[in-house]
């Protein structure tokens, strides 16, 4: 792990430990909120090991968009889960 990047395996461990929360449920790779910051895997690399590509820190604009999407996914999950 370097500054501003993290391996997919490390992110998976954080998610499993409940320290990081993916934006999309049911996805192996998804923008993920960890320690108050958004991390994501840039699209574009299309090799077979793509699922293990490193996560990178999202910039301010992208983080703002992801925050907005986070509100929507929370609502969606609430409806899908049957809570009020």
């Amino acid at each position: 792990m370097t500054l501003g990047s993290m391996s997919a395996a490390a992110m998976r461990d954080l998610v499993e430990a409940g320290e990081a929360k993916p934006l999309l449920t049911g996805f192996d790779v998804s923008p993920t909120l960890y320690a108050g910051q958004w991390w994501y895997v840039p699209s574009g690399s299309d090799d077979a090991a793509d699922d293990d590509a490193d996560y990178v820190l999202a910039g301010p604009d992208m983080s703002a968009q992801l925050d907005r999407l986070r509100v929507r996914t929370d609502r969606i999950d609430a409806v899908a889960g049957g809570s009020a």
């Binding site: 049911g26 996805f27 192996d28 996914t73 969606i76 409806v79």
Partner: protein, 291 residues
């Protein structure tokens, strides 16, 4: 997105048609349920792309009408389609060419009576939830982030696709059978006479050999059994061919009968649409006596 928007529009259509025709509460209640789920899912934030399909545009217009505080009347899909067409002509340049009737027909052709759908707004909330998830995914991908479905979800999706494919194959098989020509009554009788004549000639041939009676029986019984088998097979083929040509109202009646049986087992009452289907089919079957 289009798939889920089409599904949500069909679900809205089903909710709308669950009211008796002319019920004054229908537009307001349809608007209320759509607005309720739209807001709960945070769909106000979803922007339609320039490539939005007809279903997406009609659904978005219906949601706009439903959430308009000045609109006390409510919403119908007919009104939403009309408004969407007007907006498209004024601002978009791409006319709305497909309406809910086309979606309804495609859905019936694809699934027929093979799916049992909830009569309340359950399907509406589920389909809008799927649409909301798809819209989030579209934005994630659009901003350059990667999203990969988990193995488990992919397996479930593959299974759904397989089930859908089997359903479609069955429907295609039925359609192919419908396209085959049905032999007329004359051909059927000629075929039976041919079998009978063959058996008669065979029997005559056996008798002319003057074999002992036990041998004659041994030669005739299998041939008689074969003749009987062929006659039953031909009759069954003809009956199946005629059955597969049921007109849509009759086919719908069959589905409704199955629905009715299930409804009697449970607590859900028959909907207006179902009783209309029964009346339509009875009208066809009974030469209009039941109208």
């Amino acid at each position: 997105m289009d798939l889920f928007a089409s599904e949500a529009l069909l679900a809205l259509d089903r909710f709308e048609r669950s009211f008796p025709p002319g019920d004054p509460a229908q537009p307001r209640q349809t608007a209320d349920r759509l607005a309720y789920w739209w807001r709960r899912l945070g769909m106000d934030d979803v922007a339609l792309g320039s490539d939005a399909t007809d279903a997406q545009r009609i659904l978005a217009t219906a949601a706009d009408l439903a959430m308009d505080p000045d609109n006390k009347w409510g919403v119908t899909i007919e009104e939403a389609t009309s408004q969407a067409s007007m907006r498209a002509n004024l601002f978009d340049g791409r006319p709305v060419t497909q309406g809910v009737a086309d979606l309804r027909r495609d859905f019936e052709e694809s699934y027929g009576g093979a799916l049992t759908l909830p009569r309340d707004d359950g399907w509406l909330s589920e389909s809008l939830t799927r649409l909301a998830r798809a819209s989030v995914l579209r934005e994630v991908v659009g901003m350059g982030a990667k999203a990969t479905v988990s193995e488990e979800a992919r397996g479930a999706a593959d299974e759904l696709v397989r089930q859908g494919q089997r359903l479609m194959d069955n429907r295609r098989g039925l359609a192919a059978k419908k396209a085959e020509p049905v032999g007329g009554r004359r051909e059927y009788i000629a075929q039976q006479l041919n079998y009978q004549a063959t058996y008669f000639l065979y029997s005559l041939g056996v008798e002319l050999t003057h074999v002992p009676q036990w041998a004659e029986l041994a030669l005739k019984v299998p041939a008689g059994a074969y003749l009987l088998y062929k006659a039953i097979e031909a009759w069954a083929d003809r009956r199946d061919a005629i059955d597969s040509r049921l007109d849509p109202a009759q086919a719908q009646l069959r589905a409704v009968r199955a629905d009715l049986t299930r409804s009697l087992d449970g607590s859900s009452p028959l909907g207006q649409r179902d009783t209309r289907a029964i009346r339509a089919a009875r009208g066809r079957d009974g030469g209009g006596r039941s109208r």
